[in-house]
């Protein structure tokens, strides 16, 4: 495994993760459908998970991989709560377009 990492280089892993993270950030900022925004947040978190595993191999240290389990569990809990909020919005509004949420202004 370490050979492959040496071959590819840790920088390329960082570039890949940063690109994926930015795709997630732009998805959150520009998409208006709540489900797609959720998916973009997941892309952000998974980009970081990828980088954790790459760094873990780079340092020959298992802590990074264990951390990925934590962050996956947390992400799952977060999305469960988010979807519950989304369901209650859909029941009240009949739509999941986040542009419809503009009662609070000032």
């Amino acid at each position: 495994m370490n050979n492959i990492l040496n071959h590819i280089g840790i920088e390329n892993y960082i570039f890949l993760s940063v690109i994926l993270f930015c795709i997630g950030v732009f998805g959150v900022l520009y998409r208006r459908n709540a489900i797609i925004v959720f998916m973009s947040i997941e892309i952000m978190l998974n980009a970081v998970n990828l980088l954790f595993v790459a760094f873990s191999t780079y340092h020959q240290d298992a802590q990074g991989q264990v951390f990925v389990f934590f962050s996956m569990a947390v992400a799952a809990a977060e999305v469960a709560v988010g979807l519950a909020i989304l369901v209650s919005i859909f029941r009240n509004l009949g739509s999941i377009d986040i542009d419809n949420l503009k009662k609070l202004k000032g």
């Binding site: 952000m44 009662k103 000032g106």
Partner: protein
């Protein structure tokens, strides 16, 4: 260490109370349990140590902030008895979520490992998402929950990326090892990037300008008790965590970093205070006031060696006056559809005691003497001058004067306008919380050394 285990046990116990039909005992039993946990926490004050492979590090800092959080949670739970009167069947869920939120907050100030920090911040945030959206049929609450969820998880993603960069630079999550490694001359560029990303994420959580735009909407839309939780407990927790992160990892606070902190601090105070001037909704006004207080608290980051005591004192003064103010708001705005200032008209005549308490709380936030807020600002400003940031202190003083404007708007509305309609009933717990918290605030104001000396 025992604090965390005891808190999680207490949260599970709250859920069990509902199953065995002891709902009437729930609030008193939880408060007693929390008092027990408080005693347990205080007893660890003189016994610093690290547990579970340095996952949890107990020291004076973590013990004093945990105690403050537990006291705040006791107040919040005492208030929830009255607030959830019409949702009695869900009372145990709400209280259990608040206890779990507290366990997240305690984990955030007593971490020794970045994994624990991340788990703590997520436990706190996820509990708050639930509480913000907890008024299920109210569209405003839905919207507040959704906005808070989206921006909160966005910020969590940034924090996670920052932790990843720190791990990449150091090869460990342990803060003491990171502190040692960070003293070496050659640091990979990833380390400062990671610190910057974590700081940005924490700025989101404490709602400092320019990452504040979610706060007014979320504070206005959430149920009033959740707003009280966010503006006192969650804000103070995030601020203490940012302070602890920077000190625990011995992140050498470079000149550029200090400039950023100074600018963010000035911007938070100015934007918060100026926007608060034109608000008609009290919750929204307190949201902007909270943004400006985040700006004041950020000043402690400029002299991290000796400002821990100041941060604790400021946090205690701010959050106790916040609890007192929100207790009155909960009483006045119960069964009203909004929290506009109109609701407070004539409170000075119909209910002089609560009006006096709200006045005291607002005066403390504005920084008028004999209340703790004044001495908190005084020591904070004098310390910042000693650290050599005269311009920042001048801006802060000017801002304190501006803030008197909107606090007095509410006070004048209570004493000079005619009452629209009288409120009936004297809920004992709300009165108790309001009186005890304002008295604690006064006691802190009269004897600042009680808290200041806890953290040298």
């Amino acid at each position: 260490m025992n604090t965390l285990i005891a808190l999680v046990g207490l949260g599970v116990l709250c859920l069990l109370f509902e199953i065995i039909n002891l709902r009437k005992l729930l609030v008193p039993a939880t408060i007693l349990g929390l008092l027990g946990v408080l005693a347990l926490t205080v007893s660890e004050y003189n016994m610093p140590g690290s547990y579970y492979g340095n996952m949890i590090a107990v020291n004076a800092f973590s013990v004093s902030f945990s105690s403050l959080f537990i006291v705040l949670t006791i107040f919040l739970i005492a208030l929830s008895h009255n607030f959830y009167e019409s949702h009695q069947s869900k009372l145990s869920d709400f209280i259990a979520i608040k206890i779990f939120l507290l366990s997240g907050a305690v984990a955030m100030v007593s971490f020794g490992n970045l994994a624990m920090f991340f788990l703590g911040i997520e436990v706190l945030s996820i509990s708050l998402y639930i509480l913000a959206a907890s008024s299920r049929l109210n569209l405003k609450s839905n919207e507040a929950g959704m906005k808070y969820f989206l921006l909160g998880s966005f910020a969590s993603g940034i924090i996670l990326f920052g932790i990843c960069m720190i791990y990449g630079a150091m090869g460990t999550f342990d803060t003491t090892e990171i502190a040692e490694l960070s003293r070496s001359a050659e640091l990979p560029i990833w380390f400062p990037i990671g610190i910057a990303l974590v700081t940005i994420g924490m700025f989101f959580k404490i709602a400092a300008v320019p990452f504040h735009f979610w706060a007014p909407d979320v504070y206005e839309g959430s149920p009033a008790l959740t707003t009280a939780t966010m503006s006192t407990l969650a804000k103070v927790t995030a601020m203490a965590t940012l302070f602890k992160l920077l000190t625990a990892m011995n992140a050498e606070i470079s000149y550029q970093y200090q400039i950023v902190v100074v600018i963010v601090s000035m911007a938070s105070m100015t934007v918060g205070n100026i926007m608060a001037l034109k608000q008609a909704n009290v919750k929204r006004m307190l949201a902007f006031s909270g943004i400006s207080h985040a700006g004041y608290m950020l000043m402690t980051l400029l002299s991290t060696n000796n400002s821990a005591g100041n941060l604790l004192y400021y946090a205690a003064a701010y959050s106790l006056s916040g609890i007192a103010a929100f207790a009155v708001i909960l009483y006045v705005c119960k069964n009203r559809d909004n929290e506009d200032i109109v609701n407070f008209h004539g409170l000075g005549k119909t209910n002089p005691l609560l009006a006096a308490i709200l006045t005291g709380a607002l005066l403390s936030m504005a920084g008028i003497p004999i209340f703790a807020g004044f001495f908190a600002k005084l020591t904070l400003f004098s310390q910042t001058i000693q650290a050599g940031y005269l311009v920042l202190v001048i801006v802060a003083v000017v801002n304190s004067i501006i803030s008197v404007g909107y606090y007095f708007k509410l006070i004048l509305a209570m004493y000079t306008k005619e009452a629209d309609k009288a409120r009936t009933g004297t809920p004992v717990l709300i009165y108790g919380v309001a009186i005890v918290s304002i008295l604690l605030n006064l006691a802190l104001g009269l004897f600042p050394s009680l808290v200041m000396d806890l953290l040298g």
